[in-house]
Subunit: 186 residues, 4 copies
């Protein structure tokens, strides 16, 4: 079987984003037949505006990155009990026009961490509703909901909690199988 | 009683935004003791990034506009079954830092229109959850959920449907009373 | 391929339930390799109470009906912007104990109709969140959201609207393929 | 000022329900000008069925209990990432017919506890959406979201955690003020 190529998007622009650290930690425990690239140009996207008839270069780049991946992992913080605007803006760009959206039917994994008690779950359920629109199958269980992230990642963004690492390992196994279920070529 | 000053935010940057047209239509039928200003600089805001220690000028301007208003009306399109990223980005800026957020306890009215059958309701319920975080009281009924907006507004953005106008009038009366209930000085 | 056996649950106990009519209409346009049985004993279930150590007979009957089916179609009305309590009660029974729940990983289709403008979508998104818990894959598109159901079904519960019938046909094709994707034996 | 009379509804029928224990704990720390009665006949209600033209006696009793209270506190467990069916059934009865529903515009406080990490928040946001339908103002902050309830209540249902007690005290103060804001006679 050819390897599964995954793209990861972290929802925060902060340099020390714990959700980017979460993606790195997932990348380290993925099964051998899968690899993860973390997208790093979310901040280059302009505000979505459907008056623009041609995609600006960062939009083209972002859409191609999704199209080239077999599956997408979204690591979301929770801003005001929902998805960060800047990350939703990236999703908005990737869904236009709907007929050729690279998100359409793309297998997706939703994960997230927060310093509070919610572990970003409020944002994650909003994301799951969003991906009904794109007909993207989102992995159900195991959910990766990480509260009190400051107790599980050190200041350098290294995962220090073994039970979380086991959860990420189980997520990786389940998500790669999920992608293979929907992407027959891999 | 002093007049009630309302601020309106339309969630789309499109020139011909039907949600901006909706705000204008609300402004035309508000009770005499209230006025509505439509915010027009949402597109100037940068992407939210909590690494920025000082508010850029557009952020300061936006926060002051909210702080100066007695109540806020948000007219939301629905992008991918949720709130537009660009509008959520504006909300994200206005909530930081939480202790001094001008959204905190600000009375809010949520309205919206879409060309599809949802009338933006999927976005509106996400917004209502968001404003639990800011402890902002959001008016319950009447909800302004306008499906098939192209049948109710003409190409120039004029409201052409009388039953919708009656709904907006009822919303205006209810929302001004809602603001007065929470803002004792007006 | 062996035929796909589907179970349908309508969320209302009303004799003239439009959601039961919707299930019948789906049953009439399913692909030839699938059949639908409509469950008719939801009203026999007691209120869920985890103090009960042994399943009452109607609970056993309900769980076996789910276990015997390859996929489940839930046709939900919308009561107070969410799922009917009586239908949620049936779901609550079927999920206990979690390890042996017949809903676990069962492929599910969510559909619904209402006399109002929402077409039951508010209830449907709550259902989709509920089935994340059971790790049940829920079909994305096409969604079956039927507003103003009284204009599409006659008083006897017959579907009279051809565009709705085409939607149900497309849903049937997509859902049977969805079930086959997850149920290798069929 | 006359005292504020509150009604509490716990969403579980279990004898040792932690959400009933939560209501008792709230009752113990309410301000002196308020009292809480816990409703104990939720299990007597039949399944909601709009074919029934006359309210059965338990429905009449339940509606009168709501109508007699100045505000309602709902303590919800989380069953399958949403509201328990049996509790939603009680809400469904109380909203019919809409024009005379005792829930209409009734001030509401939503609280809840669970043994898991969500603290019932997934159920609480569904409830908040439900009460948009009834135009019932639901208190925003402080939210009472209690995860790992077994670490905060002992086996007899006594609250053993002081920081939770302080939260309940703050909730009580805020909710009684919320009720007085909407119920001018108290």
């Amino acid at each position: 079987m050819p390897p599964v190529r995954l793209l990861g998007l972290a929802g925060s622009l902060r340099k020390a984003s714990v959700n980017r650290a979460l993606l790195r930690a997932i990348g380290e425990v993925l099964p051998d037949d899968a690899s993860l690239t973390i997208y790093d140009r979310m901040g280059d996207l302009p505000h979505f505006n459907s008056d623009l008839k041609d995609d600006p270069e960062p939009v083209t780049h972002w859409k191609q990155a999704i199209a080239s991946a077999d599956g997408l992992i979204i690591a979301t913080p929770e801003f005001n009990y929902s998805v960060p605007g800047v990350m939703k803006n990236a999703i908005d760009w990737a869904t236009r026009p709907p007929a050729t959206s690279p998100l359409r039917r793309k297998p997706i994994g939703v994960v997230g961490a927060s310093v509070g008690i919610s572990g970003s779950m409020r944002a994650q359920y909003h994301l799951r509703q969003i991906f009904v629109y794109t007909d993207s199958p989102v992995l159900g269980q195991p959910e990766v909901i990480i509260p009190r992230s400051h107790e599980r990642f050190d200041a350098a963004g290294n995962l220090t909690d073994e039970s979380t690492r086991e959860l990420l390992r189980a997520f990786g196994v389940a998500f790669v199988a999920w992608v293979r279920r929907f992407a027959p070529h891999v």
